[in-house]
Symmetry: C2
Subunit: 458 residues, 2 copies
């Protein structure tokens, strides 16, 4: 059986969209043909997608449970990343597997409504209070189940987290993040992987080094070796804050990027998350090794992190991808434009990143960074993951030519999650008419999941 | 007759919302009573507003016709404010009174849908091609009619524009902006004012100095005198770009703020728009004179203007208000958080502006800057202008306590125009259930108005 969609307009790459695009997919959720210039009358049996259709958005860096902080951490007087982190730890201490699954499913569903079809969940909340292990790695299984509940494609990036800082012991909350060394981490991860059916088409497991603060060099080497052996994606938080750089230089005489380079972590399967405070040498190392960089600009605004060198990294050879990270905002359209807009604030120049390139960051580059080379384009052989935005709403009306010319700029600079009408993941409709086709009303689910954590219901 | 609304939650100032707030207004569109702690059962006849109700948002700086640039100016390679201006001029050259009214009405309706109840339209497109005067100031009348069409409260800030730059003649497009000197500007404006009925409750006319680039000192003094005589609000673009500062210093030996101060423009009725590149003396002058400052952060991002000294201005004594300016985005919620978020990027510190203060900027402070001291608060004696946002959608779900505690932070950091369900202006419902009650579907109106300008319809 073949699924067919007829798109009024579809973005197939570059700066413009094509009109009348027929997408066909097989039972395996893979596109078999993408044909432009097809009149609706010539494909009457295909499902019609009015508006503009693009490859589904890829959220390459998520901590699902941080969604429960939205609104709660911004009010409290002055502060910094580090005071924000205290509140996040208070939240982490309240989660158990059931609450984690309920919350994460609602958050992944919120993502789907905004056009996200693939999520990279950077998962570090592994154990129960005091670090006591759950049976069956219940927290990791909760993440896998939540993605299935919400119908999104998932790369679970399981993070190794061993120390509270360089040479600093774990505190009570951090004990929930830690394993018995990097070998303990690897062994738990093998257990989790064994629960994923071999035939699963929308789940992958990858590795993460939480940061050079949380993983000593010898253990970093172990994680790097594990990822190489499994040919798995490897992510790490890198230089989000100057204090991390200072501590790393003091302890190891290298920047975080320099240390990761020396431990052979960098390369095409590696993604540096944030990469905000880099030296010129760091930029050159990341670019020359073809490492990806995941920028999370709305989080970096919220946490007062600063503006990373996006244009320099691109010019050096790094692919850029995007993440909503702390979920102060869940809107990859906003992340895409924020990369460019924040560069404008930093440099006084416009147009450092072409819109088509920003859409690549939001789609294929993110998928590649999460270990899905066959995801993120509307082309034969790629997964049938797509998002459709209305072009007759107030956001996009009049923002590009009816022929499709200039559609990339319009999508990047004017689209919002609330413009999304339809989402397909692996050939299956997950959002239709702006509503979640699997879970129904998502707002009340979020509210229930969050109120039960904070005990703040009405 | 009395109109009554019962609000599930309403923000009356500060950081929290009150539960069960009954609003009552007379036929004159003025609130007569605001009562907290009222159960729904005790006000069964009142119109129920579920979610969170706030005073209507005030957009203190708009150029309505710039909406037609959204999506069209961001793609073209590298560039700056100045290349953007060329495209804007090409658009201005295509407008006539009918097209201007059609476009502006759709744009004001888009504003209403996002919760904006009062607009300050900084209006400088006064004349026909080559500077030929229309009969009856047809362009100004088009703006007045458009606001009435869309049901929003309007301050038309009529801008004096006389030179193409300091000592530079007008170019062809700029001739449409200019009058025969400041006296010609004043005389045209008196004509426009005479068309506004004395009983009009939702229209006011104020003055604007386009910039120190476009108005020589002697003419600035004339505009200042006119505004003082009429006790009218007076706005000016100030120091949006370093080049303006350089030219002003070279010609007059003063910064733009210094020049405006020497010409007695500053004071409680004055609003400096942008105020991005200020000296310490500029900040002190604006603050000591109690001048307002209108920040337009999404435009300042888009045009690579830079980040203005919002916290320093506030500390010096200036009230801050907000504008969507070029309408790359029409969302005052986004402007409010962007003031704080961009300060975080510039300083590395969070929480420089309390959320309640940012909501004041988005409401009462903006109204005051537009000459509406009785607008912008939910309190007896203030106009019945309000906006309601849903709290059960994915944006706001779980972002504050069911009791209303922390509602200001949630509204500032999580609300979006697409969360708006209901808008009331001067006691009249303008948006209901997320749809424009007067104009119906707004997207197609925008598309029609813009496609006809660019000749880009399908």
């Amino acid at each position: 059986m073949t699924a067919r969609w007829w798109c009024e307009l579809a973005w197939l790459g570059g700066e413009d969209a094509e009109a009348g695009v027929l997408l066909e997919a097989g039972d395996d959720g893979v596109l078999t043909a993408v044909t432009s210039g097809v009149r609706r009358a010539d494909a009457p049996d295909a499902e019609a997608l009015g508006g503009l259709t693009l490859p589904g958005l890829v959220n390459a860096h998520s901590h699902a449970f941080h969604r429960a902080l939205r609104g709660w951490t911004q009010a409290a007087g002055s502060g910094s990343f580090w005071t924000w982190r205290e509140r996040m730890y208070a939240l982490a201490a309240r989660l158990d597997p059931d609450r984690y699954r309920t919350l994460a499913a609602a958050v992944f569903a919120e993502m789907a409504l905004s056009g996200i079809t693939t999520v990279g969940e950077f998962h570090y909340l592994h154990h129960g209070p005091g670090g006591r292990a759950y049976r069956h790695d219940a927290m990791g299984e909760a993440v896998l189940a939540a993605a299935a509940d919400a119908g999104v494609r998932l790369t679970l990036l399981d993070a190794c987290y061993l120390t509270g800082g360089i040479g600093t012991p774990l505190n009570d909350v951090q004990r929930r993040f830690a394993d018995a060394g990097a070998d303990g981490w690897a062994s738990r991860l093998e257990g989790l992987i064994s629960t994923v059916p071999a035939a699963a088409r929308t789940v992958r497991v990858g590795a993460a080094i939480h940061s050079v603060r949380a993983v000593p060099p010898g253990s970093i080497a172990t994680v790097v070796g594990w990822a190489r052996h499994h040919r798995a994606p490897l992510h790490a938080h890198v230089s989000e804050q100057p204090a991390e750089n200072d501590a790393c230089l003091a302890a190891y005489g290298r920047t975080p990027t320099g240390l990761l380079g020396a431990l052979e972590a960098l390369g095409e399967r590696f993604t540096a998350v944030h990469a905000t405070h880099l030296t010129g040498d760091d930029v050159a190392l990341l670019g020359a090794s073809r490492s990806s960089v995941c920028m999370c600009p709305t989080t970096e605004r919220d946490l007062a992190d600063g503006i990373g060198p996006a244009a320099a990294l691109w010019n050096a050879g790094s692919a850029l991808c995007l993440g909503t990270d702390s979920h102060a905002v869940i809107d990859v359209w906003e992340e895409a434009r924020a990369v460019e807009l924040d560069q404008r604030l930093a440099t006084g120049e416009r147009g450092l990143h072409a819109p088509g390139r920003l859409l690549e960051a939001a789609t294929a580059a993110g998928a590649a960074a999460l270990g899905w080379p066959g995801v993120g384009r509307l082309a034969a052989g790629y997964a049938a993951d797509m998002v459709t935005v209305r072009t007759d709403g107030v956001g996009l009306a009049g923002t590009f030519s009816g022929s499709g010319a200039g559609a990339a700029a319009a999508a990047v600079f004017a689209a919002r999650g609330s413009d999304v009408t339809n989402v397909v993941v692996d050939g299956r409709t997950v959002v239709a008419g702006g509503s979640h086709a699997l879970l129904g009303e998502v707002g009340p689910r979020l509210r229930y999941a969050i109120d039960s954590l904070w005990d703040t219901g009405p």
